[in-house]
């Protein structure tokens, strides 16, 4: 055995864990919301609020840290090392399993301290963590695990077979909780074990796919059309389905091209925004809306007595999903505009493209309008969803949680009016803090609806007024900023 190879035994595992630890260390900021939420909880009169908040938020943070750990461990499972380095695969699998069981037990224990049923939470945490790892291994599973259940679960939950299975699981847990937990963890652990591959053509293929996904992830949520990343195969086909209007709109823009500012900037914006362009968002949303309508019709035909309840049960999730799709482009804007900065440089040189302050006015207005139209469409579609759903609401708890999201998100759209010339490569921590802030504000907004009976639509109206006032202030600031394009040219100054 070569002296250069790592020694067998714990030394090898320690090296794997050290490599993983470096990646996990980058998400240290996950501790911030834990500490923040715990600090907020000290203001509560409820006994044990601080301990409870700390345990729950820490459990959530641990899940996210597992995400980083699984990503790092799968990143070490490259086909060449797996094939050539003796014992590397075994060490990876054993390390992953150890971390997996440790984190699942810690999460289960933390949640069990607050809500009891620690073993049940351990199983739940392990299942969730395995789903993360599966999605990292096969990106298409995102859709299967995180999107389809929103549509499929409400009706499935009503099926007699599903109810029976739930009853059996509950009964087993009541009688033999440790045996059940052990069996479930064994099963999930075996699943995790087999996510790591042993080299060969299939491994090389999935590795290449993983590299492409990693490339996407390093772009911090920027929008690259799926067909750019996957040129062939089911993901490319899926990408084309979900962005069907994107190429059609490009054709329209080219067919109707005129040497006017509106036409030139529309063509430039199409390139600068890539997959964040409204035509891509509209494609996805319309497709999902049609799927929802079909599902509604199917339910009304086949389960007429339960359809209303099932559809209403799905509305909160659907409305949040819809609003996320509409607000999502806003979160990817920094990364996308940074990524297309070189294209912007070329487009700044084409005839008809406004320059100087005029560029800020035109591009700034177009960007804001782009997001406002998406926002407005999201709100309108949510109202349509509610109107189309059979049955009635009960009480203040509007099923459209997405309206609370919309109320919180609207003033944030004005962030598109900032000095883009200084926008460097977006940092993951900044995006995460922004997301967490948004989640916290949405939580407050929902609490305002449910506890103080302030309807979500009133909050939306108040949000519009705040946005108009802020917009007037930002518009003046925009006239003093350096020209927006190419984005990031002053980031290093």
């Amino acid at each position: 055995m070569s002296a250069a190879l790592p020694l067998p035994g714990l030394g090898g595992h320690a090296a794997v864990l050290r490599a993983m630890g470096r990646k996990v260390g980058r998400v240290w900021w996950l501790l911030l919301p834990v500490l923040g939420a715990t600090a907020l909880a000290t203001m509560s009169n409820q006994p044990l609020a601080v301990a409870g908040t700390f345990c729950v938020t820490l459990a959530i943070a641990l899940h996210l840290a597992w995400w980083a750990a699984a990503n790092a461990l799968l990143g070490l499972n490259d086909p060449l090392s797996a094939h050539l380095m003796p014992g590397q695969l075994r060490r990876l699998r054993e390390s992953a399993l150890g971390v997996f069981l440790g984190v699942a037990a810690a999460c289960g224990g933390l949640l069990g301290l607050v809500f009891d049923h620690g073993l049940a939470f351990t199983m739940g945490a392990a299942a969730l963590m395995l789903s993360f790892a599966i999605c990292l291994r096969w990106p298409v599973m995102w859709l299967v695990i995180w999107v389809l259940p929103w549509i499929a679960l409400p009706p499935l939950r009503e099926l007699p077979l599903a109810l029976q299975v739930m009853d059996i699981a509950r009964e087993w847990h009541a009688r033999q909780p440790f045996t059940q937990t052990g069996a479930v963890l064994l099963l999930l652990g075996a699943g995790l074990w087999h996510l790591f591959q042993a080299g060969g053509a299939a491994h090389a293929q999935s590795w290449a796919q993983r590299q492409r996904v990693q490339h996407l992830m390093t772009m911090q949520g920027s929008a690259v059309p799926a067909t750019t990343v996957w040129s062939r195969g089911p993901l490319a086909w899926l990408g084309r389905c979900f962005q069907w209007a994107h190429p059609l709109w490009r054709e329209h823009l080219l067919r109707t091209a005129r040497p006017t500012t509106a036409s030139v900037t529309a063509r430039a914006e199409f390139v600068a925004l890539r997959g964040l362009h409204w035509s891509a968002t509209a494609s996805t949303t319309l497709l999902l809306f049609v799927v929802f309508l079909i599902a509604e019709v199917v339910l009304l035909v086949f389960l007429p007595d339960r359809a209303g309840r099932v559809i209403r049960a799905a509305l909160p999730g659907l409305s949040i999903g819809l609003m996320s799709a509409m607000i999502g482009p806003f979160f990817g804007l920094d990364a996308t505009l940074h990524q297309t900065r070189r294209e912007q440089a070329l487009l700044s040189l084409v005839p008809g493209m406004p320059r100087g302050i005029e560029m800020n006015r035109v591009v700034g207005l177009r960007l804001l309008r782009h997001h406002l139209v998406l926002w407005g469409t999201g709100v309108a579609m949510m109202m349509a969803l509610q109107a189309l759903a059979p049955g009635h609401d009960d009480g203040w708890g509007s099923p459209l949680l997405g309206l609370n999201f919309a109320a919180v998100a609207l003033p944030g759209t004005l962030l598109v009016w900032r000095d883009w010339s200084r926008q460097g490569l977006p940092k993951g921590a900044r995006a995460a803090v922004l997301t967490m802030l948004m989640v916290a504000l949405v939580g407050l907004s929902i609490a305002a609806t449910h506890r103080w009976h302030i309807p979500a639509l009133w909050q939306v109206a108040a949000s519009v007024l705040v946005t108009v006032a802020l917009g007037a202030w930002r518009w003046r600031a925009l006239q003093r900023m350096a020209p927006f394009w190419p984005v990031g040219r002053h980031a290093g100054e």
Partner: protein, 317 residues
């Protein structure tokens, strides 16, 4: 199809607006394609990337810009095109401020950036259609000829083309609207020798046919020797030396010897010291003399002509 073949005047008429007439007037007054004065660009922690640079390019000139990695070549090219605001100084292109060019001026500019992997989700043919939609004139025949000669499939996405094909496509895109000023940032870096030769031939044709002014940066000195009539060395934020190649060969000498002897030779022959390197007992000075006026070497003084590579090393170290 080409709508205009005569350079500045015919082109401006083709664009046909007030700004074109102004550009025409500027040309008539002899405004150079590029004039930079007192240009200064600083980066955070790196002041003087461009440090008080004064520079002008004459119409129809082909200039190869040389400089070490990080010398600021790309920054300079971007600033010249008005894509980056300088902290001080001004750039004028054909007499107009580069930061606020009108449409007629922009129709006269062609730019090949260093990164060729742009517009990755477009097919090659769609990319050309996209850019065609912006320009008042577009030479379809030239585009078709180059696409076929350089073997670029129109139906393949840019992201799927090889690096060399992406670079060629970028060059075709920049040539298609027949610019009067063509700026290329390392245009041949990804091309094989055949591709480079083909590109250089195209560049020479462009200059001969239309009198295009060409400014390009490169590291491949042999290509410069083949095509660039003028060579500019960027060092310490300034153009340290610019001259036609044959003039450089005739006029620039590397002198080595004791300092007193070097100074005496420079004074006696009216030389201009370009750089000094103190290497112990044998300091080396790079000096430019008027043609035929270089000192003869002797036992104490070494006086050597330099090839382009040696000149690059002496000037940029």
């Amino acid at each position: 199809m080409t709508q205009a073949m005569e350079p500045a005047m015919t082109h401006a008429l083709a664009v046909g607006d007030r700004a074109s007439a102004q550009a025409l007037a500027d040309d008539a007054l002899g405004a150079p394609p590029v004039r930079a004065s007192g240009l200064r660009v600083d980066f955070k922690g790196q002041p003087g990337v461009i440090a008080g640079l004064d520079w002008a390019l004459a119409p129809g000139q082909v200039v190869g810009l040389l400089g070490r990695n990080g010398a600021g070549k790309t920054t300079l090219l971007e600033t010249l095109l008005g894509l980056r605001e300088p902290q001080a100084g001004e750039v004028r292109l054909f007499g107009q401020p580069a930061l606020l060019p009108d449409d007629a001026l922009r129709a006269r500019l062609g730019y090949v950036p260093q990164q060729a992997a742009l517009f990755e989700d477009f097919q090659a043919g769609d990319l050309l259609r996209y850019f065609r939609s912006f320009y008042p004139r577009w030479n379809d025949a030239k585009v078709d000829g180059l696409m076929s000669r350089w073997d670029i499939p129109r139906d393949r996405r840019v992201g799927q083309l090889s690096q060399g094909q992406q670079q060629r496509l970028s060059i075709i895109r920049a040539l298609a609207h027949e610019p009067d000023l063509l700026v290329l940032d390392e245009p041949v870096a990804s091309l094989d020798p055949v591709g480079r030769r083909d590109f250089l031939r195209e560049l020479v044709d462009q200059v001969l046919d239309r009198g295009t002014t060409v400014l390009f940066s490169t590291h491949i000195l042999s290509d410069l020797e083949r095509v660039a009539f003028n060579i500019a060395f960027l060092s310490r934020g300034r153009i340290a030396l610019q001259a036609p190649q044959d003039v450089l060969a005739d006029e620039v000498r590397l002198l080595a010897g004791p300092v007193g002897r070097l100074q005496a030779a420079v004074d006696a022959h009216g030389g201009q010291v370009l750089s000094r390197r103190d290497l112990g007992e044998q300091p080396r000075w790079l000096v430019r003399f008027a043609e035929g006026n270089a000192p003869a070497p002797d036992a104490v003084l070494r006086c050597e002509a330099l090839n382009l590579e040696d000149l690059f090393l002496e000037l940029t170290q």
